[in-house]
């Protein structure tokens, strides 16, 4: 029972209270870059979720069964980047074969998941919080879902921004940054959220 509560707390925390974008400010690059259309934003969110979940699982194994027993804990960051880079390469190949349209829509941002700090952040936080295997994977997937939620909400707002009237100097990225800031403020409302 306790474990279910813990997983629930992790889920709510990763999606709402400690959303990777809006309260930890990780993964801002793809968040701003691929949020012009809802379709591509959904694709990106799913890809990130997938990478985060897989990376959490593989990194947990690498960390607990390879690095820690050999006393190489200090090599975490390097080893994790290796894992993430390979995973992203793998997903790129997979997408090119299975979903070419999504592959072209994501464009340069797909290989950029490699350097997406949200992914590295999630695996490092897993170690820092000394999560179990299941908790790690859940945290990875729900962290990705939080990213998905954030980027889809943001993309829908940006699509509607076309019809909004704002000063010409704000065109493009400035208004997007203002919007992102306001959304981060809104997400602060979740910060008091506690499960028990």
């Amino acid at each position: 029972m306790d474990q279910i509560f813990e997983l629930l707390a992790i889920t709510l925390g990763a999606i709402l209270a400690n959303n990777f974008i809006f309260s930890q400010f990780l993964g801002i690059c793809p968040f701003l870059g691929v949020s012009k259309k809802v379709d591509t934003a959904v694709g990106m969110g799913i890809a990130v979720t997938f990478v985060m979940g897989l990376a959490s699982a593989v990194c947990f194994v690498v960390n607990n069964f390879v690095l820690v027993p050999l006393g190489l804990g200090y090599m975490q960051t390097v080893a994790f980047i290796l894992v993430i880079a390979s995973l992203v390469q793998f997903i790129e190949m997979f997408l090119q074969k299975a979903m070419p349209s999504l592959y072209t829509a994501l464009g340069v941002y797909l290989p950029l998941i490699t350097t997406n700090c949200a992914v590295l952040g999630v695996v490092l936080l897993n170690v820092q919080n000394s999560y179990s295997f299941i908790s790690s994977v859940v945290y990875g997937i729900t962290g990705g879902l939080g990213f998905l939620l954030a980027i889809v909400l943001f993309a829908s707002i940006r699509e509607r921004l076309v019809f909004a009237e704002y000063p010409k100097a704000f065109e493009g990225f400035p208004i997007a940054l203002v919007t992102a800031g306001l959304m981060a403020l809104a997400f602060m409302g979740f910060s008091g959220l506690k499960i028990w």
Binding site: V62, L67, M75, A79, L82, S86, M93, F94, K97, V108
Partner: protein, 298 residues
Amino acid sequence: MTNVIYAIVVLGVLGALFGLILAIASKIFEVKKDPREEAILSHLAGANCGGCGYPGCGGCAAAILAGDAPVTACAPAGAENAAAIAEIMGMAAPTGEREVAFVRCTGGVNAKKRYDYVGVKDCISATKVAGGPLECTFGCLGFGSCVNACQFGAMSIGENGTAVVDPEKCTNCGACMKACPRHLIVSVPASKKVHVTCANQDKGKAAMSVCSSSCIGCGLCQKECKKDAIHVVNGVAVVDYEKCVGCKLCTKVCPRDAIIPVATAEEKEKYKAIKKAQAEKAAAAKKAAEEAAAASAQ
């Protein structure tokens, strides 16, 4: 010491393992690529300048193969490579003259300043501040956004403070044309030498007051041209390169020296004298003809 060896070995093994998995995956998920794409790619410039509007040379090659882009999409590659690509695609080789970029402004120091701009040295930023530091809203600002955009080192800021193109190095990729916030850079045939060096569309007096080398749309060039190759369009003279034969008569009558190659005062005087002599001769001939007609009538 053992720690270091452990670290190297562990990371090496991990890397090799992931590499192996990726190698296997690349075989499983292999996407059959058209071999022609590689062939086309080898004929592109390879500078990834983005002038064609596609993301890098790979994107351009794919677009040419899909038929979305013309075989001449890569301007920097030149006519030879375009012909080679056309052959790969099974099309007739395109014909067309080499074109180069040309900056339609030589105002620079001649143009009146409205205020001193002290911000970022960038044309786009400068135009955002009350429409730019020049009185002329068409003139080159000379902060070199186009110079930065050029991947081939063909652009520089000339001595009078406006951008100039080195036609030897220019590949007509179009990057500068996109970078210029005032759309001053156009593509012109490389073999043509006569160009109008102003883009000011204002009425005569307004154009005259903002810059000492502006085109005021007086139309003298249009009248002078024997080949109907220069016209005042929207208040500024424009050369019709298909008709221009490069006789330079227009440069000799331009009161603003806004057509290059700029004629010297001497040349202008000489031309004026020739014209005057011609006019006198014509008048005399007319008079003689009239007299002869009058005599025969009698």
